[in-house]
Symmetry: D2
Subunit: 271 residues, 4 copies
């Protein structure tokens, strides 16, 4: 797979806040080892900078930003220029492996073991390929899901959006005995542009990225957050308060150089 050497990402989120509230945002890219970023984050209320507290995420070096907002116009802006070095794919650590085998809110793999056993088998690489093909063929890309939809609902409905594709791939591979989790990413080439969710599945000790939607090349994706499912990696989570309305959302993700192609049959990893 052809590897671009970086990209630029940005997002702007605007809210009207009516009562004092706390939020956590997960919008900053995950850096480390082979990924570096020149980044800026600005959080303003009625135009005045109010700052954010950095809170480590539970997985894999991610960062969350905790914001305490009084009533007013809240604006969160993040931008980064990302440079990436060539690096071997990330190996699966023992704690990550154990955690990625446990059932989670939207990927209840404990309920799907029989279905997975009847439908998929063979080596781990074959299971990964067959689950990906199954999900790609089984789902229609339609906005039929809501915030409480889990992978079993999606399997039955035969439709969903990127969140649902990622949950179904994750749940079925996990139910087949492969460690599996999700990653929220900036995805250059995605149209319309939005935050994107993909699966990471452990095969032969290495995390492999799966995007059954096929909507953007995997090689250009830039990791934001890693978790068991969407519950862990939401771009915005209300912690306390409430009474807010999102008024504007804008996301940018551009690869340096040409957008690479993506061969769905080839394995790829997220750095």
């Amino acid at each position: 797979m052809d590897t671009p050497d970086g990209g630029r990402v940005a997002c702007t989120l605007e809210y009207t806040v009516d009562t004092p509230s706390e939020f956590v945002f997960q919008i900053a890219v995950t850096t480390g080892r082979a990924v570096h970023a020149d980044e800026e984050l600005s959080v303003t209320r009625d135009g005045a900078e109010i700052g954010a507290e950095v809170v480590p995420a539970s997985h894999h070096g991610g960062r969350q930003h905790l914001v305490r907002a009084e009533p007013g116009a809240l604006r969160v802006h993040y931008a980064a220029a990302v440079r990436r070095e060539s690096a071997p794919p990330r190996r699966v650590s023992a704690p990550a492996r154990v955690q990625a085998l446990r059932p989670s809110r939207y990927c209840p793999s404990d309920r799907m073991g029989g279905f997975a056993a009847r439908m998929f088998g063979g080596t781990d690489a074959e299971i990964l390929r067959d689950v990906t093909d199954f999900v790609r063929g089984h789902l229609r890309y339609e906005p039929v899901s809501n915030a409480t939809t889990d992978a079993t609902d999606t399997l039955l409905a035969g439709a969903g959006v990127c969140r649902d594709y990622a949950h179904l791939v994750t749940a079925l591979t996990r139910a087949s005995g492969l460690p599996a989790r999700v990653a929220a990413v900036y995805a250059p080439g995605l149209s319309p542009m939005d935050f994107h969710l993909v699966s990471e599945v452990a095969v032969d000790g290495v995390w492999r990225i799966v995007d059954a939607t096929g909507l953007a090349p995997r090689a250009s994706m830039i990791r934001i957050a890693t978790g068991r499912d969407a519950a862990d990696v939401a771009f915005s989570t209300l912690l306390s308060g409430g009474g807010l309305t999102m008024t504007h959302m804008e996301i940018l993700a551009v690869a340096d150089g040409d957008l690479p192609g993506d061969d769905p049959q080839a394995q790829a990893s997220l750095r």
Copy 2:
């Protein structure tokens, strides 16, 4: 399909009743048109006959027996010699068709439309064949279900008993647009002997019987009750009271003459 001309069935149910209770039993065969029965029903409490009220079932000529029992030893015994005449398969009436397309408690076809559309297609006969083959291959015969298990649970678990096979066939054909329901039957040849549940699916205007378990020949089965799912055809339902324990259950079903073979690929109907 070779058609035996009848059979003998019987069942004995014994309970210890601790508080005054009402039950409905569905254990008498459905007669009419081409099916006749010489039958006896006895309901005793501590050895004294207490009788039962006949309550019509909502589907297809079935009979329920309502029993009011004071504390004591309750015994229900039913036996019948069934004679059947050759008859064309039963045609699907308009009211039965409409009812058999509606979702029900254990066959929530409204949740499974997408799954069914992706997995099955073609003519009604092809859908029936493919759903039957899928369920036969997908399920292991194991007692993993309980009284609240529905067809979506069974699809995910990949296992179940006759109730679950019938619910999954019914739900998937119904979700594919075919009218589908269940029938509780006496099933000569079943081992171990028990009440049995099968599906009836409308194809080309005729009710076809499906038993994806393949545990007994369809031609010998004798209908007890017909309904949308197991909720309608339970052999015993507590209406009021409670505090009872089943202490004994014995079921007999014998075909007149040799037990016929059953070609799973052939269509068959229940009279």
Copy 3:
């Protein structure tokens, strides 16, 4: 309860049909005994009358109208002047009682027995009153539900529309051991006007009507269809085909004379 002696109802449904399709409509009032109607039904395709087949509903004298429509503009219009005589409330028959105790698709009472037993108790009349008060206080009237929402979802969400109020009352009373079902009605006084769904619960051998929404007086309601839950009484059900779009829907329900008041604490019955 003050009883008006009748009312006028009407509905007009318009669809664009793209492929040959079959529908069942349940829009005609249930007549009989104490309820009479002068009614007219018109079904047209591109302005030409195409007629409808009357199909008996499974409950309580209801009528369904089956329409076979070729592509074009389908219009269904129904209007009736309803006269009602004074009559004692309807007694609960044995078959209706048995059926109303069974779990159904949207009222899965078999899953809610423990919840109901902890929350409600006493006489049947007390259970009915307490369930009604609980549902009235527990739910916010908000359109959060969809076609697959059942009573357990509604209990957890704490919100819903008339369908959800009726399902939760029905499920909780049924789980408490009272026979319970739903009725689709024309409801003079409802605003905005729409088809309405209420519960009927058996207390002391009589069907009592419950509308925990309190949005319209029960005494003026006119029964259309009766069933276990919304699956049985939908005003429109697609039987085959598809590719249609509803383009217009208009409902009228007016009581003769003044709209009566409604004392939520008083028991009432639907004729």
Copy 4:
């Protein structure tokens, strides 16, 4: 609350392993700050020591032990003498708070927000007290649940075991906006002795322990593992392989000195 200064704990788990398998065990106590342990761990196959790899748990200093077992008789034995110092209750860190507000597999708080909002309110301490009282009164201690039962199932069933009590308390407080998680503990005084599961809920910045079963004094409990729900803290998780049978399980937990009393109205914290 009277605080004992320690205790002794032990557990022995025996399995027959038929195919090469990997397990993670969570049976060692969580040490740190105010809790120390003299401990021993032995893992043998057919009597020969095979060792275990220590894998950090995702929460709060817990340890998992990963065991790779060839076919044979597997025996895991752990014992520890625990000493505890007096210490102020543990404060809730920002990452722990964020994680404890997210929905999880068995505590799907995102589905229960409306129910919680209608049933509970006031200060965080009042919510904690009222949820605890509700769960204590609402549930019967009965083994009706299985491995896939979540907090919504338990709420509906009105019954469960310690796992279910902990899940329901955790889900309802979390759905009310309080950070909430579970802790697996050794519980001196529990009868019959077993691994025990309790809730930890953040009130005024401090983790408070809740045990709605009331089956053992909270002050003597010794923490093993911490997580979002039982999926995180299972004492044994199969990672790969299978074909094993548990043949023996024995657990010991004894407090130094007399077992303390426990006032259910008083707040307590786990060290």
